[in-house]
Amino acid sequence: MTTLTMTRATLLKDLRMEWRSKDAINSMLFFALLVVVIFSFAFNPTAEESRRIAGGLVWVAFLFAAVVALNQTWARELRNQVLDAYRVSPAPPNALFLAKAVGNFLFVVVLEALMAPLFVVFYELRSVGPLWQLIVVALLGTWALVVNGTFFAALSIRTRSREIMLPLILFPISIPALLGMVDATTAILTGEASPDFWIKMLAVYDVVFTAVCLLLFETVLNAE
């Protein structure tokens, strides 16, 4: 069984389960909506101001919402010892990891696509810079959050108080990626600076940490 077929099988299984239950996407959506509404109350910005602060607001909302989904990633594999069964099977561990990471990536991207219009409505957001750059930043940034998040979720399910553990270990490592997303988004929205450096930085971050995750996942999966 090759990595690719295994990845596809696991991914399709997760997507089908999500399609039928809609657990992750519903909780993420509602959570992000709450964050948006609360920020809107707290700042009540004008169109000019909101361009300046939106980069931060958007990514904080997505980050917190993503943690909600990431925490559920491995929980369903613990029931009926699915994870243990996976460990004794000859399937490549990285296929499981990639499937989970891609699944989370898709959930968060769908969330972002659904939330974007809300930001436009609540914050009168209109971008000065080109839209395609925003999409590139969103995709690179989401992968940066999700690849490490999926890995650290696998770490944190083995700890006490696992739900709290994930953000505690994910956020410090993600600081450069968050900085890149926020600054690139602000640069594009205001059109005052070039986001090129940050886009390159995010790409480097993605490549480096995807490699580290794939290198270490088998070790963590089999940790006893």
Binding site: N148, F151, F152, L155, R158, T159, R160, S161, M165, L168, I169, F171, P172, I173, I175, P176, L179, G180, D183, F197, W198, M201, V204, Y205, V208, F209, V212, L216, T219, V220, A223, E224
Partner: protein, 229 residues
């Protein structure tokens, strides 16, 4: 082995006393900054020692994943704790110096932010060690240590994009750089003594970790025997 360590501790105490005297009394007072500049003799050696500790932590973590021996893991735990302690000293002495010299406690400058992020990463490492369950702690901690170490250069690079306010390296810089020889003298004594203090603390913490493991193993063995009766 024990005698060597006791001698080393005695030497370190002596060295620390000497270097403190050098830093506080022998080194000349800086012209523009005044006495507050003397904090430099503690700030920079602490940063250096923290860096050494985190590097030891990385090497020990890789060694643990490679060999799976309890000794590497104990060293990783010890070096992370001592490193966080020195990093805390850096983060406290920095603002004490910055307030009179820059007029602000804190600024989001490359080196300051990198140090803070470094501190956050290794605190999260210690939290993970505390919360991980039983026999998995070592592997999970070692994996996180590698993530943390890989992250540091990326943090530094990304934050350098902002304006940098921290003094550029004083030694080995441009034309007007360089310390007064008397200051350099005091600085190197402090660098040496802080490194020695770091080593002493790491060795002590390492021994404590090994002792704790032994106590745990003894308890487990006793519980097993009790259950068999």
């Amino acid at each position: 082995m024990k005698n060597i360590f006791v001698t080393f501790v005695a030497l370190t105490v002596g060295l620390l006393a000497f270097s403190t005297y050098q830093g506080l009394f022998v080194a000349p007072t800086e012209q523009t900054m005044g006495e507050v500049q003397r904090i430099f003799y503690y700030h920079v050696p602490s940063a250096w020692t923290a860096g050494v500790c985190f590097f030891v932590n990385f090497l020990a973590s890789v060694a643990y994943l490679w060999k799976r021996n309890a000794a590497s893991d104990a060293l990783a735990a010890a070096s992370a704790e001592v490193g966080v302690m020195f990093c805390t000293v850096v983060l406290i002495t920095g603002p004490i110096w910055a307030r009179p010299v820059w007029g602000i406690w804190w600024t989001w400058d490359a080196r300051l932010t990198t140090t803070l992020v470094l501190w956050l990463i290794y605190v999260s490492y210690l939290v993970l060690r505390r919360f991980a369950a039983g026999g998995q702690t070592q592997v999970l901690a070692a994996a996180l240590a590698i993530f943390g170490f890989v992250d540091v250069p990326i943090v530094y690079m990304s934050i350098r994009w902002f304006r940098t306010q921290h003094p550029s390296p004083v030694m080995g810089g441009g034309e007007n750089s360089g310390l007064d020889p008397a200051m350099l003298h005091a600085f190197f004594w402090n660098l040496l003594s802080f490194t020695c203090v770091g080593i002493v603390l790491m060795v002590l913490r390492y021994r404590l970790q090994r002792l704790e493991e032994k106590v745990e193993a003894t308890h487990a063995a006793a519980a097993l025997q009790g259950g068999a009766q």
